[in-house]
Amino acid sequence: MKYGYYPGCCLNSTCKDFDTSIRAVFRALDIQIEEIKRWVCCGSSAVHIASRYLAVVLPLDNLAKAQKQGLDEVFVPCAMCYARFKFALHDIQKDRGLRREVEEALKHSFTEKLRIVHPLEFFSTDEMMRRIAAARKRDLSKLKVVCYYGCFLSRPPDHFDDAEYPQSMDKVIRAAGATVLDWGCRTDCCGGNFSLTRTDIALKLTRDILEGAKEVGAEAIVVTCPFCHMNMDARQGEIEAKYDTSYGLPVYYYSQIMAAALGAPEKELMLQLHFVHPQRVMEKTGSNGD
């Protein structure tokens, strides 16, 4: 069966590494995906404040396109987009008037088969984890990581994972062979929305998370959200300077860790896009890559 794939704006620009590595993971596990044609922004981070209607229409427009392409199950790898899609589906399921209005505007009636799937939800089933473990090509056991879920992957509470103590990413990264440590900051907020405007808030919140990772002895942080990645990786130097400390913690998307474990060529990990010790994951495998 073929799955739909919605990259979203970040994976299309600032986070090319997220996009190429998750495609590499799907390829390595022999999962067929097809990108939604002519997709538009899901409106995450801004639109829900200006227009509740548009916040529902934008994700659903993409889903209507997916269904017209014959794709009923759609992968949304970005945690922020994933949340927007979930909210939109939730809203039209609850509100029949809204549903009618949206379906009329989009000239499409959604069928019951439609499902939004986060890759971590998909990969954390027992069967998929067995497949991942069996397909491992590089040994990451020397790499100690913590998994950071952020706000949007596990909240609000009706998502696939526990809202307060999510485990799906820990399980998947463990199946990929890395050493996953327990810690207390997995669902703390990094202040992503304020990164460009009230940077002081974002720096403080992100520092607390980096501090938490350092405390348990992590050598890298694994994330699901482009905003979190930007705050933790690109702004890490700024945080170190402001708080007169040092972390030196590389931050990877879960797909990069998985792709590394599954033997993807290094150019598909696109580690050169990172600011902090990008090569650590490859160094820990003890190989020089491909």
Partner: protein
Amino acid sequence: MDYTPAQILHAARLGLKDLVLNSATIWLCATCETCVTRCPQGVDLVKAMDAMRAMCLSDGYKPKVPEVASFYKYALGNIQVFGRLYELGLMGRLKLATREFRKDLSLGLGLFKRGKLRILPDFGGVGEMRRMEFRGVRRKV
């Protein structure tokens, strides 16, 4: 924050519209959903905050934390024009609005050097936004 989220909600219930819409709190809520997850009464505070922010802008109030409000405003405008977020355009527009031209300069350069920033927008979504506009979707609130 000048009021706690609980105070804001209480003020909203008492109909203290000016107090609520002139507060910094509604702009300093990071929409992290922690409160929604934990509220024993099942209050969706984030949706309430969204509504209050929208009302602040539509009813002509002056946002107490203007830089945050302009981020939302320009990000929305950016998406409406391009259909897919054009980061460099958004950053430039924010700079013009806040007049803090030196802020995040080295970050921007770092992003640029690594090839993380698109110089030109991706026009793949422009036609789609036009199409939606013709159907009257865009203007609706």
